[in-house]
């Protein structure tokens, strides 16, 4: 598979850093045009900000997924870790009486800790990432329910609520976090050794190891980063809903992974861009927003997301088989 993927990659390097596959942009453009025609409410600044706001949590999750998938891994625990992080963040402030900065720290640390456990079990114990993170999906979700008895922890510190609901200069705060995090994630993936090694591990793990990349350590770090992103997404989700909800982020990994693949990240590793993932997340956001505006039931939306994931991978494979001939 890696060989086939290489052929679909852009030939020249200057592309590699910025270029999103044109298909992703085309899909986004078509979606926007169709929805603009179908719904009179779609094209407006406030709806545009709504889409960005709704995309923030998924987008941050998808950044984490991008790093892991770049290295030919997978993190299915993203949504559950998001939920657990929000619960721990809310409890640490509301129950333990810690000041609000500790609420933020608790979210990020919970996520990073779950990710580190994922990484250690995968890299050191050699359990497949699919199984490890599927297990974590269950454990983290269950732990969140245990800690709260299944009841959301309502009523947070005003500063935390501002993180979720505040609008400096009219822009929702989560959107600012989403875009800034994207900038940092792009820098790390495209310009640092950490990002380069993630891609190389996904491309040819044996080569990475032979050339001196500490593959196991890098893997643990990648899952830790992915978990921390889930923690950040958990913070945003908690702040926006003003609650630590143990059922928060249910099935979000499905949307986040779909966004990542839509953005042109190779499911088998070696090729990934954060800008692509941003576009992929926007596609998911626009799609959900459009279905909402058209009053399509959320049950159908779940089906649509699942179908889009399979469709995106299928199209990618068709493309690559064609490029090979």
């Amino acid at each position: 598979m890696p060989d086939a993927a290489a052929i679909a990659a852009p030939v020249r390097r200057p592309g590699m850093r910025f270029v999103v596959r044109l298909e992703s942009l085309a899909v986004l453009a078509v979606l926007v045009i169709v929805l603009a025609v179908l719904s009179p409410y779609f094209l407006s600044v406030s709806n545009f900000l709504n889409i960005l706001l709704a995309t923030s949590v998924i987008g941050v999750l998808a950044y984490g997924a991008t790093f892991v998938i770049a290295a030919a891994g997978i993190d299915l625990s993203l949504g559950s870790v998001l939920g657990l992080s929000g619960v721990v963040g809310a409890l640490s402030v509301n129950e333990l009486g810690l000041p609000w900065p500790f609420g933020i720290l608790a979210c990020l640390a919970t996520g990073a800790l779950c990710g580190t456990v994922n990484g250690l079990l995968n890299a050191r114990a050699g359990i497949p990432a699919f199984i490890v993170t599927l297990g974590m999906l269950g454990v983290a979700r269950g732990l969140g329910l245990v800690l709260t008895n299944g009841v959301p922890v309502y009523g947070l510190d005003p500063v935390l609520v501002y993180i979720g609901q505040g609008r400096p200069a009219g822009v929702p705060f989560p959107v600012i976090v989403f875009l800034l995090t994207g900038g940092v994630a792009h820098f790390v993936l495209a310009y640092t050794r950490f990002g380069k090694y993630a891609l190389v591990i996904g491309d040819n793990e044996g080569a990475a190891r032979a050339m001196g990349v500490r593959v196991q350590r890098q893997r643990v770090a990648l899952y830790a980063l992915s978990g921390m992103m889930a923690g950040l997404a958990g913070l945003l989700f908690m702040a926006r809903t003003n609650a630590g909800d143990p059922t928060g982020g249910l099935n979000y990994e499905l949307t986040a992974i779909t966004a990542t693949i839509l953005g042109g990240t190779n499911l088998f590793g070696g090729r990934a861009t954060i800008f692509g993932t941003l576009i992929g997340a926007l596609i998911m956001g626009v799609l959900q927003n459009g279905l909402n505006l058209l009053a399509v039931s959320s049950f159908y939306q779940q089906m649509a997301i699942g179908a889009v994931l399979v469709l995106a991978v299928w199209l990618d494979q068709v493309n690559r088989t064609r490029a090979r001939r």
Partner: protein
Amino acid sequence: MSLLELADVRKHFGPVQALDGVSFAVDGGEVIGLVGDNGAGKSTLMKTVTGVHAPDGGSIRLDGTLLNGREPGEIRALGVEMIYQDLALARMQDVASNIFLGREPTRRLFGLPIRMIDRPRIEREAAAMIRKLGARLPSVDYVVGHLSGGQQQSVAIARALTFNPRLVIMDEPTAALAVREVEHVLDMIRELRRQGIAVILISHRLNDVFAVCDRIIALRQGQVVADQPIAQTSMNEVVAHIVGAA
């Protein structure tokens, strides 16, 4: 003291004893031909030297420094490079990134304590190395997977020679090449010897081995069965050692 000294190196994979007490030494500027049948342990032995495999017993020393238990990156830093049979290239990455893989120079971002890969320097130095080798590559920002087999080999060779190695190990470097390209690789080996760099050449092509090597070491079932200067042996004798008829 020799540059590389192997003493009683052992390695097993499950019940299979891949290396069964291998000992030999290599001096600087010496070209060794390492031969043996498939499964004799040639590649395993060399991957044990480069740290990809950890030896179960014995010692591997470079200039007296024990290599056992070191990471591949540390061993490269000590001056051991290997051109792997599968070339060990990241085929979705470009030429320059592959040449500097594992050794990317970094610079600070706006003077902050944040390190980013020094891409301009990588491109500059990779291009200089390729020019020096006389390899015909379209550009250092070309994705390696798009290159021909010979070109990919050039990238692997350039990577091995960029960081002033003291020992270069080549695993079947000529197997996939056309006649003229083979000559090019053999000339390169002679040039390395002239510079005092040691070379270990793994090859099934005995013609190549006899053309450039000073000494030939034959492995059979994980043991050294012959270690002779080229001048004192013949192709028939070497073949006999390889198949176990000697």
